[in-house]
Symmetry: C2
Subunit: 317 residues, 2 copies
């Protein structure tokens, strides 16, 4: 059942022994939502715990600092934050809380999480926008730590206010959170301005392999196993490279061919304008989102590139 903000506030204020579920592989928005909400509810004497199969990545550790440690088995109210689908919870959490979610707070248009009550704001750039409104509406004071958590969600989910989901509300809330003490600069340095030296080396090796196709509308780079060795980097650091291929002026399709240890290639593809990344990768047995998708192709490199170019050509020509 869809509910409004006031109803969500009422649910939270009237209940206790609350479990908050962020999604697995947690990001800044789901964690910001979870910790801001916990910290706010802590202030009015609730017992609240956050449950997430994956641990909290080190870079978000400032959210956890000095947080009240509640442990209780008598769980009475379960809230999912920024969780669009049950599959996005970790396996253990999913098993335990399936069909037991009382309230879901989310901003994904595609939300299909089974829950008793759903507060969905599809116009919010981040789930933290809604959490901010809930806390304000409840009259709980927003301290610096809560402001840090909320700002993190706003900033990370909007690409630091660059993405098209950013609205005047997002920016106004960010402004208010800075006034409430959010360490916006420090947070943005951690989230956007910190790259490891090994990543920088890898990026440099990879960008040299760039080749342009289809009248410069397609840019492809490749990463070999050798490059991981030479740079000291690894596959977990390759995401920003994919984004770089799409940033080139005039490029409609950017792709990275990542060699796996078995000699096959993992393809990550990004598109601009109306080109459907998911459809291109679909031709090669993969899938994804309209602007970001992936697939697997057999090696050697020449074979993988040729197959990928064939598929891209069907959409570019």
């Amino acid at each position: 059942m869809k509910i409004d903000l006031n109803e969500a506030v009422r649910c939270l204020v009237e209940n206790d022994n609350i479990v908050i579920l962020p999604h697995d592989h947690p990001d800044g928005d789901t964690l910001g939502s979870a910790f801001a909400l916990k910290r706010a509810l802590d202030k009015i004497g609730k017992k609240v715990k956050i449950v997430c199969d994956d641990g909290i990545p080190e870079k978000y550790s400032y959210m956890i600092q000095d947080v009240k440690n509640d442990d209780f088995s008598d769980e009475k109210f379960v809230v999912a934050v920024d969780v669009a689908d049950i599959s996005l919870l970790g396996e253990k959490t999913r098993e335990k809380y399936k069909n037991k979610i009382n309230l879901a707070i989310d901003h994904h248009t595609s939300n299909r999480l089974e829950c008793e009550k759903l507060l969905l704001d599809e116009n919010a750039a981040a789930c933290c926008e809604t959490i901010y409104e809930i806390i304000k509406e409840s009259g709980i004071e927003i301290d610096k730590k809560i402001a840090d958590c909320l700002y993190t969600g706003l900033s990370t989910d909007s690409g630091c206010f660059r993405y098209s989901n950013t609205t005047s509300r997002t920016l106004r809330m960010a402004s208010e959170l800075v006034d409430l003490g959010a360490s916006h600069f420090d947070i943005n340095v951690i989230m956007f301005e910190t790259k490891t030296r090994t990543y920088m080396k890898l990026e440099n090796l990879v960008m040299k392999t760039m080749q342009m196709y289809y009248d410069d509308r397609c840019a492809i780079v490749n990463i070999s196993q050798d490059m991981y060795e030479m740079s000291g980097s690894n596959e977990t650091e390759t995401d920003p490279i994919v984004a770089k291929t799409r940033q080139i002026e005039g490029v409609l399709v950017g792709a990275v061919l990542r060699e796996k240890s078995d000699g096959s290639f993992k393809v990550s593809l990004r598109t601009n304008k109306d080109l459907d990344a998911s459809a291109i990768c679909g031709l090669l047995g993969g899938g994804g989102h309209p602007k970001a998708a992936g697939c697997q192709i057999d090696g050697p490199l020449e074979n993988a590139r040729e197959k990928l170019l064939d598929a891209i050509g069907k959409f570019l020509n």
Copy 2:
């Protein structure tokens, strides 16, 4: 003479045949300031022209669209926007307007431009913040095109709200400008998500020159004239490279040494944490902001690097 906002508004409203001077190698803030101010003054029937030795780079062409074309020789009032020093004007403009600047509007702490009246807001992330306040104070309606110009300045000078100069005011103004119709997403794609192929080639050549100093707390790269030739790029495209040096994990000072055609070097320096970029460059006769500053050093490269490292060492040790 330092003046306040009201006095600046009075000057602009009482005068006519106004010349606006952005700085040379114009960026989003100086152009946003110039075109927002011109467009606002156009609305109250003033004759206003913008004078800049360097042309307007193609990516800012949306600012010029449908702008009233005023040409007059009977110039009566000269306003410099975002110009901290006379040397930042192009040679022709400098010769013509030296000692003739009636009003300077700026946000650089290091401002030392000779002018009759100075409106300086050192807390503004962008000169456009002050221009926005001037236009609001004057009661002139801010239309979509003016909002685009002002948003561009705010966004570009604050690294899309990432840099430490970003305040709650910057974000609040951005929010208001989005409400006034600023095409924030399209502008950010142009400013931050589009890179030319020549830039990509240059970046790759430059990043290979990276050297680390002072226990990896300082990263320096250099750009030679050769690299411009090899990549097809030029000095106007080098700004994002400076930012990259500071992004490396653990780096407190990042710098780029850009070789000029006369063999001397233009230094751009960026700092993290509390390190004062302006003070470091001040030791070498330059200046700027706390986290972003610059200076000139004689060649050859080894000399420039040594002098720069000396200055940096005084602050790092």
